[in-house]
Amino acid sequence: MSEDSEVHIRRSRIVMLVWLVPVAAFLAVAWIGYRTFASRGPVITITFLSGDGLEAGHTKLRHRNVDIGTVKSVVLSRDMSHVEVTATLEHQVGDRATVNSRFWIVRPRLSAASITGLSTLVSGAYIEMDPGQPGQATEHFIGLEDPPVVDMEDVPGSHFILHAEDLASLDRGSPLYFRGIKVGEVLGYTLSQDTEHADIFIYVRTPYDRLVRADTHFWNVSGFSVSAGATGLRASTRSLEALVAGGVAFSTPDAAMAEPVSEKGAEFRLFNDQETADQQPVGPVLTVSYLAYFPGTVQGLQPGAAVDLLGMRIGQVTDVHLDFNASDGSLRAPVTFAIDPKLLPIAVGQSESSAETVNHMMDRLVAQGLRARLASGSLLTGQRLVNLDFIPDTPEAAIAYGAPVPQIPTVGSTDLDTLSASANQLMSKLANLPLAEIGTGLHNIVAHIDQATAGPEIARSIKALDRSLANLDAIASQANKEVGPTLASLHRTADAADQTLEAAQRLMGSGGDRSRDLPALVHELTDTARSVRVLTDYLDQHPEALVLGRAGAAK
């Protein structure tokens, strides 16, 4: 009996051991269950316009290329206008799905600047999550159709906004250059609120973002640029990449380096080319505008054209347009140009009074004969510029101070264009001349002369002339013998005259003021020149006078 009970006890121990198996299984299952449950994050819904490339159960949610969730279902919304994607996030990122989070689908993107998302070609699309700043947790998101302009936390730097008239060939990822070194890229672009500009978001890597100051100039180096300005033809391209993908370059003038480093998000203007950008003044832009009405055409004059003072650039044309005066029916092309006081040789303060200072200076210059006129900048391209120059002996004129900008007196241009236009007119007048009748008349005269010379009187006259010439020959040969002594005496006479003049000079040397005659001489010369100019001006306007004489005299 004792043996039996011993066996029984031993058996019950074995039985106890057997029950350890389900206990162990339970513990294992409980642990796995807990882990699975604990690692399960929230279920979120994202809406997209298209479910292209998304697969339920397979497509991953990623952040920085690490899986943080899985798409559970991809279904159409009830009104079939978009796609609703349900996804489970992993536990550790669950609390980062906030109102600041953004989601977008990463698909292969092939742009000229770069190829991104190449891995998705074989692995399929995935949904990128940008957690954003911590905030209010939410479960419903609206997915972005395009990758957002992300603040690249992993590449330190600053972003700025450029305002451009035209996006040109810039695109997301277009390079940004400083002295030819790639220092950043275009993050994206959008149309400005007022649809006046293209707003371009750029990102400048540290430490290059320190180079961006308030007066940093940005310009577009997209593609291959051929610019024809007053300085001739220019062709340039930045790099092959920029040629294909477009690009932006910037420079900071030395004077601008004194300014504080620009804040992140600062806004700049994007110029179309480096030349325009370089011409931008450093510091606050304070210009003084003038208006000018040029006689004749303003063809070839564009906004941005240079304004020269004695050949030095002092400003640029800001506006050219047509102006029709309905009351007297006159048509004019007012040209507005802005002068940068900093480029003038006067001390100008950074205040509103600088305009007065400049006006005062211009008043005095105009009184001395300064006039605005159009001049050819480039014969090749026909570009014109506004030339401020002293025109001698112009009628008195003064700056007309009227609203809104003062008007500066002008003179007609004498450049090649006008000359060629006059020549054209002359040619057309010549073409209208009755050449055939003149030719006939001349022929008649010649015929008459012919008849006259054919007469016997002519033959007699010629014989008489022959005799006279023979006589003259004899006289000349006799005179020849006497020429030598005569010449010698002439020499002596000249020497004597020389000495007399020298004596006279000495006589006049002390109190003599020959220079008094000089202004008179110069004055006469000027008068002559003026007459010539009047003549040319008259011919300019009345070329027919060359042939028909002065209109007034004829009548």
């Binding site: 058996r11 074995i14 057997v18 294992a28 299952v29 796995i32 269950g33 699975t36 692995s123």
Partner: protein, 252 residues
């Protein structure tokens, strides 16, 4: 089979001579197992009965079928050295314990992914059920039925069957004892075949390692599934069908 079709989708597989020879070998072993009469072998080793079996109750050795008097219970079998029992020891307790463990593991085995195919860096975990669904989706419904039966239905049949046996013995139910006996025989026979999935999976994991191109990795679900198969095998082995008939005798 499932594994083979899944690999076919990523790589071309050709069975070489060795593979054919191995298949032939396996098939022959199966045939031998099928046709051999164990009693003949054991009778050749030693006599099939202990002295004193002519009178009274007898028991048999579970390993070699030796017939012994009931008094020999607890002693070692003179022919094969296995312990002689009247009934399998603690049969009900062991079956219940192992069955319960198998039940618990059955849950993660079906919920957790059993394998993960990493194709071109793209992670693709698959549970048994998702595998079945995928097979259905590509139109291989006969295969889907096989996988569904072998991996999901049969373990469930084994577990519910054993539970039924245990409950019936506990309550002394004697009806349909024939049906239960047949079911037990079926469970015993089919038991090891469920593990074929686990073996295939281990081969797959070892074979399909093409670096970043394609990779197959076993997941925790596979361990749970193997646990289910092994535990149900042990449970059905620990169960003694004669206990069901004992109830019939008790009733009589």
């Amino acid at each position: 089979m499932v594994a083979y079709t899944r690999i076919q989708s990523v790589a071309v597989i050709e069975v070489a001579t060795g593979g054919l020879a191995f298949a032939g070998f396996v098939f022959t072993v199966l045939l031998i197992d099928r046709v051999i009469d164990r009693h003949v072998v054991w009778d050749a080793i030693g006599p099939g009965a202990m002295p004193g079996v002519e009178a009274g109750e007898i028991i048999d050795c579970l390993e070699c079928g030796l017939i012994a008097p009931v008094s020999a219970a607890g002693a070692l079998c003179p022919r094969c050295a296995a312990t002689l029992h009247r009934r399998k020891p603690d049969s009900l307790q062991r079956t219940a314990a192992l069955g319960a463990a198998a039940f618990l593991l059955y849950i993660p085995a079906n919920l957790l992914p059993i394998l993960r195919i990493v194709r071109f860096g793209r992670d693709d975990p698959a549970t048994i059920f998702s595998g079945v669904r995928e097979l259905l989706a590509i139109g291989l419904w006969p295969l889907a039925v096989i996988v569904f039966t072998a991996s999901i239905v049969i373990p469930l049949i084994k577990l519910t069957g054993l539970t039924w046996f245990l409950v019936a013995i506990r309550l002394g139910v004697t009806r349909r004892v024939m049906a239960r006996t047949r079911l037990y025989r079926f469970i015993e026979g089919i038991g090891r075949w469920s593990n074929i999935d686990v073996f295939m999976l281990s081969i797959l994991v070892a074979l399909v390692q093409f670096g970043s191109l394609t990779r197959v990795e076993a997941e925790p679900g596979a361990v749970a599934f193997a646990g289910v198969v092994v535990l149900t095998m042990l449970a059905s082995r620990a169960f003694d069908a004669r206990l069901m008939w004992d109830r019939v005798e008790d009733r009589a």
